[in-house]
Structures are given as C-alpha cells and as structure tokens.
Symmetry: C2
Subunit: 242 residues, 2 copies
C-alpha cells in the first residue's frame, strides 16, 4: 500500500535487481535516481554515462534500508511513470483485461502478449497496478515493450473503439474457439480470475469464445483455465495461421 501511494503521488515507481534495471536503462523509461553498490556502478559506468543517469553509491546497509526485498540485490532504480502518448492500434489484436487481480497473472499476460506481437493492453481501472513489483517481475522485461493503458472499460468500449472492430470475449459458456472465425485484428476481453467478464462488459461482446476442455470418462474435470494460460491459448489460436 505504501508503494502504491508512492506511485500515485510522485508518479514514480521502483525496480530492483540487475536484470530489470538494465532493461529499464535500455528502454524508453527515464530513471530519476539510481542507488547501487560501488562495484555495480564501476561495472556499468559506461551505460550510466551514455543514458545520462543520476546515481548514488550506497552501502549494503543503506540499500537494505530503502529496499522492499528481503535480500536486496546490488541496485535499485526510481523510475518516472511515462505518460503514454501512443495511440491504440485497432488494426492489430488488442487485449482488454476486466478486473485481473493477481499480479503474477497480469505480468504473465503482458509477457505473453509481447510474445504474440500484441502491442496494446487495456486494463479496467480495478485491475492490479502495472507497477506492482510482482507484476513487473512476472513480465520478464516485457513491460518495456507493451503499452498498458488503464480505462473505465465501459466508456472505453462504447466511446473509443471504432464500430468495425470485432470484440471477442472469453466465456465458460462461449463457442468453441476452434470453430470460430478469428480475424487478424480485434479486441479480446479476458475476465476476472473467479468472476469472469462482468455483465456490463459482456453486453458489448460480439463473439463469445471458449477453449474447450477435453472430457474424460464423462467427468467434467476442472472448472476453468488460469487467466494467463487461457490468454496464451487464445492468442495462439488468433495468430497460428499468420
């Protein structure tokens, strides 16, 4: 909660660890201040100078004090949250997430979108925060390449989406995805982990789809797929013939 307040008030977020800090430095993100061990700074002097990054040398004790990790890892960066100026590309596939709550799921969905060439993700305002450390970590660096927007979904769907864009939604009573005509562009809505897509959002969906389960011995098996696994399979179905 402390961290979330920090993000909202200062418009900055924190990343920790060598891998993610390097990804940030190589990306479009701007580092406000970087705190690191002398050893790390010496090793990375060139890229720090090249990217014109303000840094401070800290001791292990000092890093432990500002870190939120149990075992702080050499370097921590405070990063500006960028204003996204990008326009959503409606001629590509666009993911829309309705109330995704689990940080691992959101991060993995962003990573999966990146794999399948999806450049824009629209989150409902009640989705977990992109800059939650667990979300960032689960993206494995993909958050630097995918645009993630937060919107009131109903308003977005009714006012911002061109009329000719097909809106697909994943439902447990949807139509077999293998037998559905899947366009090369369109919106794909993924719902909350336990409640699925909310009723109001569901009203805007044109095509209800489902990855069918394989029923063995007449038993119906598991109730559903994990949200990020479902997203991966759906994106695979949309792109496998490209």
């Amino acid at each position: 909660m402390q961290q979330l307040k920090f993000r909202k008030v200062f418009n900055e977020f924190v990343v920790e660890g060598e891998k993610i800090v390097k990804e940030i430095i190589d990306s479009k993100y701007r580092v406000s201040t970087l705190f690191a061990f002398e050893e790390w700074i010496n090793e990375n002097q060139q890229s720090l100078t090249l990217a014109d990054i303000l840094y401070e040398k800290v001791s292990p004790k000092e890093l432990a004090r500002i870190s939120s990790l149990k075992s702080p890892n050499k370097v921590l960066a405070v990063v500006r949250i960028p204003g996204i100026s990008a326009e959503i590309q409606f001629d590509n596939l666009v993911l829309v997430l309705d109330d995704i709550q689990d940080p691992g799921n959101l991060g993995t969905i962003i990573r999966t979108a990146d794999w399948f060439g999806v450049q824009d993700i629209v989150c409902s305002n009640d989705c977990v925060d992109l800059y939650n450390p667990k979300v960032l970590q689960s993206t494995m660096g993909s958050f630097t390449r995918v645009n993630v927007f937060y919107h009131d979904l109903i308003r977005f769907l009714k006012e911002r989406v061109p009329a000719d864009v097909v809106v697909y939604g994943s439902f447990l009573d949807g139509k077999n995805i293998y037998k559905t005509d899947l366009k090369k562009s369109g919106l794909i809505i993924i719902g909350n982990e336990s409640k699925g897509i909310s009723e109001e959002v569901a009203n805007v969906v044109h095509k209800r789809i489902l990855v069918p389960a394989i029923v063995q011995n007449g038993s119906s098996n598991t109730e559903s797929l994990n949200a990020s696994v479902a997203t991966g399979i759906i994106l695979n179905e949309f792109t496998r013939n490209l």
Copy 2:
C-alpha cells in the same frame, strides 16, 4: 521447510480453507484429522459422517495456532499422502516436468493438464513438492484428479517408457509446433523456468518443438513464454483436432 519435513516424516500434508477441504473430502484422499469451527462442523455434519472423518472442534485462537495462514479460514485438514498405485497410461498424452521450481507454475500446469484430459504427470525429483500449499492452491482442485509421480527422469525415460512412445520436448530452438506431426499420445517434456530442459534429458527427446513468437518490426521481443502458458499452448496444439 518445517512443512516439507512434516510431509516427508509423517507422510501427511495439510490443506486449509473451505473449498479445498471439500474437494479433499469428495476425492480419493483420506483425511487423518480435521480441525474446524463448530459452525463449519454443524454445516457439514452429513458429509463428515458419510466419509467417516475424525474431527475436532477448535476456537479461532486454536486454529490460528496450528494454521500457516495469516487469516485462518474455518477449517484445516491433515491428509494422508496416498501411495499412487495407478500405472502411467502411455497411450494418452503424458506430461514430464524437468525441474519446475515455481509453486504457481506446477499448480497451474496440473490444472491445465486436467483441462486437456492429461491424467499423468511425471516430475523430476528436483521439482517443487506437490503438497506445497501454494502448489495445491494453484491447481484449483485438479490435484485430486491428476496423478503426479516423482522420478529420476533419466532412469524413468530410459527404463520405464516403452520404445514406441514419441518423446516431445519444448525448446527455444525447437521446430515450429504448427508444422510438427503431433500424435494423440506421447511424452511432452517441459523444462525449468530459466534453464529449460537439462542436457541429459534433452538427449532422450525425439522431437524438439517450439511455439513460435510473432516478430514485430524486426525486434525479437520477449525471450520466452512462462512455463505454464507454454504448457497450455502445447497441450492445446496436441488436442485441438481430437
């Protein structure tokens, strides 16, 4: 660690919460002892009697003492780890996991296997423990329906797998899965989250497969898919024409 020792020494594991305890009671698992609030016991008296389950009424304070959760949830059950007598069905798809470390990944893989009708999963001995509470929770109840075995993978692959069974493996330099001949049965090996399939295990693979990434603007995007997302997409590819 304490819990893992408990599982190894007493051959029992602990589940907590109403949903998972009900799934356990309805499954082939045997409950050793169940601890619950009086209210829960009154509501579930019939199924407790029917399944002949030994129980103890506990107060919220007592439950908090034996629980590993921050907010204990009405009921906790100590459950016998079953000896699996089932034979692996090599005429179906069988998942083989090489050193999967993340509890959420193992749980989600079991849930996904259940969805796609895979009944047997063989884990390397260094995979995370099935009875880790986070693994069980991520399966969403599927662990009661899927057989999960732990083996020395090399010995298993060389000594236990019939010679006519095709062994598929997921590799970042594998062949496009869309263009690979996928049988209705076979072993599918999924590797460790960061290292992939170990070299010794890789030597036994007949067909190296890959879910291809969509490359945009010439950039190579993300390095890999999450292990459970990759498993979901691969199982989807194997079963989509069944």
